[in-house]
């Protein structure tokens, strides 16, 4: 486990980038590049990071970055990896960095294809639970009950279980992470770097702009998402499921914080009813039944 003190001083996400105040994805991007250093080839589809770079002729990234079509991060990764192999370049980590819509909706086909082909790269889905770049429209990863501009009375469907979809591809490494736990994220990225094949990291990245909370609450909201058991930190390594700290303590339901603390802090959940809360709490319990089962099978 790396400590905060051991993190490199070098910055590869430069000052002057164009993210919103309190942007969870930008905070995690900084950590991602600290974790990997500058021998990185970033592939970025249409997403908030398109904007974060800043407009031509400037860029806020000190690593090579290929902007590519919305639905095609996985395919682009396959192309870059093949080209680097032909050029006998073997010390560069190829990273696809895509949002939740670009991953779970329009980009799921190319991602699934790349995973099935075993393309040697790290795919990170930074999940802010809506199409943030276009002004917060509903995505397949928007949670039940959340207001978005296209679900003005709250989304009526559940969020896709994207990390488990990727685990079902039998790739060597799937992990979840959250902006509020930066060292856990750094460690998982570094671990992924040393594994051959397709590695998937699902990063919950709070978005104060879209979640309707104060820009100072990014980390607090991320922590609460994990501490309430709504979002679990885990790894699936070669098929073996393992909960990570602090989620590993939450199999015991009494250790979980009340979900209302999380929902209450965000304007997007203002429309939730008592029945909605009861539904969500039931789903959390079901998720944890599944995690408990998986954890005991793999213990």
């Amino acid at each position: 486990m790396v400590t905060m003190k051991e993190l490199p001083k070098e910055e590869y996400l430069l000052k002057g980038h164009a993210a919103c105040a309190g942007c969870g994805p930008a905070a995690s991007l900084r950590m991602l590049l600290k974790a990997l250093g500058n021998k990185v080839f970033l592939i970025v589809p249409a997403c908030c990071t398109t904007v974060i770079q800043g407009p031509y002729p400037f860029t806020s990234f000190d690593v090579p970055l290929q902007n590519i079509l919305f639905e095609s991060t996985g395919a682009a990764a396959s192309g870059v990896v093949a080209a680097l192999r032909q050029r006998k370049i073997d010390d560069v980590t190829v990273v696809g960095w895509a949002g939740d819509g670009g991953t779970a909706d329009i980009g799921i086909q190319a991602l699934s294809g790349a995973a099935e082909r075993g393309t040697n790269f790290i795919y990170i889905c930074y999940d802010n639970e809506a199409y943030g770049n276009t002004g917060m429209q509903r995505s397949g990863l928007t949670p039940y009950g959340a207001w978005t501009t296209t679900t003005p009375s709250g989304k009526r469907e559940r969020k896709k279980d994207m990390p488990m979809i990727m685990a079902a591809h039998k790739i060597p490494y799937v992990a979840t992470a959250c902006t509020a736990f930066p060292l856990d994220f750094v460690n998982k990225v570094r671990k992924a770097k040393d594994i051959q094949g397709t590695k998937y990291n699902h990063l919950l990245a709070p978005c104060p702009t879209g979640w309707r909370c104060d820009t100072s609450k990014t980390i607090e909201m991320g922590r609460l998402a994990v501490q309430t058991g709504l979002f679990a930190l885990y790894e699936v390594e070669n098929g073996r499921f393992k909960l990570n700290s602090p989620s590993d303590r939450l199999i015991d339901k009494s250790k979980r914080k009340p979900v209302r603390e999380y929902f209450g802090g965000q304007g997007r959940f203002r429309g939730l009813s008592e029945q909605d809360f009861a539904k969500i709490e039931k789903w959390i319990d079901e998720d944890w039944d599944q995690y408990r089962k998986l954890a005991s099978e793999c213990a």
Partner: protein, 392 residues
């Protein structure tokens, strides 16, 4: 040493990718393109071709993988047809906008609905405005030769654009014909190693294709237009150089046949151009002064060549294996647009023929020529667009 063989145009496209020493091929199968990529898969697995073959899950991903690989510094190739090409549409714009010299074989096939696997050019002509150079081939040998010429052209610093080399499904794709493969060392002399305008590399970090404001966007588009104009100058030069090296030459932008002193010149694209030559020979035997001009390069469009051609004849007739619904065939439109500024324009007639694989033989073309000559005698054209061999 030159190798002689009898093979299909699709296989020859595969041989051309091998001869060009392509490093990354990304492809998705679709009839009638399949045997191109099967041939390449054989070459890669047998070790005859030192390349990566990415078996992508869609044509959209095929084009994106080529874009990304080209951006990461290697020569790329793919092939597709019809609906596959349509699915690539968005990525075609990205490839040309990125100024990447990708070469793609397009095995022309009609678009659905209804389903058809037979040839016409509605697939590639629908991609007219994507910023790709478009070649149309008349025989198997030309497919091989044009792919090599296309790499040379696309990787020229005055061009840096992608190109499609189009060949009609089944008429060429699955038809065996004699061909020759030039000596590899000579091909290497003709086509040096991969060159592009930019490569994304660790050590020289940059963001490629990030957001551009209105202050810059138009200039990027103007540069593509300039590159197309440059390509128009270079294509005949490269064709002549290829001819000197390997013996086969195709007239650069337009292949003209017996156009001198012709009352009527028939303008075609692709394999109709081969049949048009046979038709012209027959018509000339009958004392009818007819010539053939096969438009080999559709983008950039050879405006100046069309103007020259028009100056030497009394009538032009186009035959399109394509229809732009609500208007006419593209070739017809472009030929007329090319002549708008000219004072003494020849008579013009446009014909739509061969859609969805309807046979167009030398006899069909003779019929079209005779119909056109009748109009010329009458001094007027009744209908500017006629459909050939249409059921009543």
């Amino acid at each position: 040493m030159t190798k002689r063989l009898v093979d299909t145009a699709n296989h020859l496209a595969g041989y051309a990718a091998k001869a060009a020493k392509v490093k990354v091929v990304a492809a998705y199968p679709i009839t009638p393109q399949t045997t191109v990529v099967e041939k390449i898969a054989d070459f890669v697995e047998s070790g005859e071709m030192d390349a990566e073959y990415i078996r992508v899950e869609s044509e959209h991903s095929a084009m994106v993988a080529c874009i990304a690989a080209a951006a990461a510094g290697v020569r790329t190739f793919t092939a597709t047809s019809s609906h596959g090409l349509a699915l690539m549409h968005e990525a075609l714009h990205w490839a040309s906008g990125s100024r990447l010299p990708i070469v793609m074989a397009v095995v022309n096939r009609a678009m659905g609905a209804p389903w058809s696997i037979m040839p016409d050019m509605s697939d590639s002509l629908s991609q007219r405005d994507t910023g790709w150079i478009q070649f149309y081939c008349a025989d198997n040998q030309e497919v091989f030769d044009t792919i090599l010429q296309a790499y040379k052209l696309c990787e020229d610093e005055h061009v840096f654009l992608p190109a499609m080399v189009c060949l009609e499904g089944f008429i060429l794709s699955h038809t065996y014909a004699p061909a020759k493969l030039p000596d590899q060392a000579k091909i290497d002399d003709f086509l040096p190693p991969y060159k592009s305008g930019w490569v994304l590399d660790v050590g020289k970090p940059s963001s490629h294709a990030n957001l551009v404001s209105p202050e810059w966007y138009m200039e990027f588009r103007y540069m593509i237009q300039e590159a197309m104009e440059n390509a128009k100058q270079l294509i005949p030069q490269i064709d002549r150089e290829y001819g000197k090296c390997f013996g086969s030459e195709y007239g650069g932008l337009i292949e003209k046949y017996r156009c001198e002193g012709a009352d009527l010149v028939l303008l075609t694209m692709g394999t109709m151009g081969s049949d048009a030559k046979l038709a012209v020979d027959e018509l000339r035997k009958e004392g009818l002064r007819v010539g053939s001009a096969r438009v080999r390069v559709y983008r950039p469009f050879p405006v100046e060549e069309i103007v020259k051609l028009a100056a030497g004849t009394r009538m032009l007739a186009t035959m399109d294996r394509h229809i732009s619904f609500g208007m006419e065939g593209f070739l017809g439109s472009e030929v007329k647009a090319s002549l708008y500024g000219q004072k003494d324009r020849p008579l013009f007639a446009g014909f739509i023929a061969g859609l969805g694989g309807r046979d167009v033989t030398a006899a069909t073309i003779e019929k079209v020529a005779k119909k056109s000559l009748k109009m010329l005698d009458a001094g007027k054209v009744e209908r500017e667009t006629e459909w050939v061999d249409l059921r009543e």
